[in-house]
Amino acid sequence: MTVLSRREWLLSDRPASRRQARLGQVYRTWLGFRSNWLAMVGLAIVLTLILVAAFADVIAPYDPVVGGDLRTERFLPPFTDGHILGTDDLSRDIFSRIVHGSRLTLMVVVLVAVIATPIGLLVGTTAGYFGRWVDVTLMRITDIFLAFPRLILALAFVAALGPGIENAIIAIAITSWPPYARLARAETLTIRDSDFINAARLQGASSARILWGHITPLCLSSVIIRVTLDMAGIILTAAGLGFLGLGAQPPQPEWGAMIAAGRRFLIDQWWVATMPGIAIFIVSLGFNLLGDGLRDVLDPKARK
């Protein structure tokens, strides 16, 4: 099959199977996304993060935890032989630590998204669809969670369960679902009385079927956009917890914890804290650009 005919097959007005229809829809979205070069930069950054995390063992030249010679290899500046980003106070190669730290960052981001998105969607669509006391109850619970300062709740949670990256993730997840619930509820309110939902009711569809099959797909795109845009904040919160010593524990190469460790030498050995800071900055920027691009193609209201 040539490239052109595959493209025509995807863009066909008369798809012949479920698969072709779905792939065609995905391909159209991709075409819209591809024309936004900033979003492509974001996508490239996020893909790079994923690849680096997957192949950390191959990419990193040194062990991220065990350092070199403490007499001769401490605080080597960037671009010293073999240490492209320099070494820290325990003679560990900063580049290797950042590469391995990408795994922690990716784990935080993925787990928070996997935990918080379904909770937010479920609470929001249920509240919006059923209305009345269900709505009042669920949204007041949401308000309570929304009223907690995120970092403080995470602190309390970590203090109760003990420090560690897993507890930090749970703490971030339980504080980040309320905005998704609100968003999903608002979207649900706008579509719950529309004719296509009424039509589904008239076919005898159960509430669960309507919520899952009809309302959720329409809320999903705006929630995905919001989650992607929040990724930067999640990374920063995780880094903040690491910085405070409540997230990843030493010697784990978590970027926030690395900044905290480098803080003591900030004046004389600036690179120890700066390099992981740059990594956080680039990845956060990548997620923001990706989220913006996704909004342009997925949000039906923003579509030209």
Binding site: R18, Q20, D195, F196, N198, A199, Q203, G204, G213, L218
Partner: protein
């Protein structure tokens, strides 16, 4: 006139929002026989669509009785009710889920009610409304208004109901396609012996489609007429006469 299919008795629908109450339907009664095509006519806000919505359970009834074949309908309606009564909505641009292919739209009711031979039924339903099989995997945004309304009709008919509630099925379509859809509905009714309850503000459409009709104004049933009486201008109330002459005036002004 065949056996009694639907009977609406002193139907009241009241919408409340805070202290605001709107009595959208006030004591409307009518009977529809099996195989009959019954029209409800009135201007915007007369409560005619609300009557339809009350019949299928989408609007809350605050008084009166609705009977389907001598059985009083309960809220919420049973699954069996939806296999007997289906509705076609006014706006085909709003009544199809924007992210569902036609295939999904048609297969969902079959899945809900556990029908067999789904592939066949879907293809049959599409060809019944004059759409070819190559429409099956399209999304609604790839269809025109008339094609969408055909899909909506196919969706209503795929459960093989005996009665269709038609809520101004052609008013969102342009004139040439209106006739197409009306003829389709007419043909399907004769082929399958369906009972129609059709709401419209257009007397010409109702006169074409319906055997009998009721005229509504401000939530009240003003007058019941047969098609013959309508054609002969034998309206007894002032409002119906006004409505009739308004539709005449319109056609005369239209003619060159």
């Amino acid at each position: 006139m065949g056996a009694l299919m639907l009977s609406v008795e002193a139907l009241d629908v009241t919408f409340r929002r805070g202290d605001d109450t709107v009595r959208a339907v006030r004591g409307v009664s009518f009977d529809v026989a099996e195989g009959e095509s019954f029209g409800i006519v009135g201007e915007s806000g007369s409560g005619k669509s609300t009557v339809l919505r009350a019949i299928c359970g989408l609007a809350p009834t605050s008084g009166g009785l609705i009977r389907l074949r001598d059985e009083t309908l309960r809220t919420p309606r049973s699954a069996a009710f939806y296999r007997e009564v289906q509705m076609v909505f006014q706006d085909p641009y709003a009544s199809l889920h924007p992210r569902h292919t036609i295939d999904k739209v048609l297969s969902e009711p079959l899945a809900i009610h556990g029908f067999d031979r789904r592939e066949e039924r879907i293809e049959q339903a599409l060809s019944d409304v004059g759409l070819g099989p190559d429409f099956r995997f399209r999304y609604p945004h790839q269809l025109s208004g008339g094609q969408r309304q055909r899909v909506a009709v196919a969706r209503a008919l795929i459960l093989e109901p005996e009665m269709l509630l038609l809520d101004e099925p052609t008013s969102a379509l342009d004139a040439s396609i209106q006739a197409e859809v009306l003829n389709l509905l007419d043909r399907l009714r004769t082929e399958r012996g369906l009972t129609y309850v059709m709401v419209s503000h257009d007397l010409a459409v109702v006169a074409h489609m319906c055997d009998r009709l009721v005229v509504m104004q401000h939530g009240l049933a003003v007058e019941e007429l047969t098609r013959e009486a309508l054609a002969a201008h034998r309206a007894t109330t002032d409002y119906t006469k006004k409505l009739l002459s308004a539709s005449e005036g319109y056609t005369q002004a239209e003619a060159p």
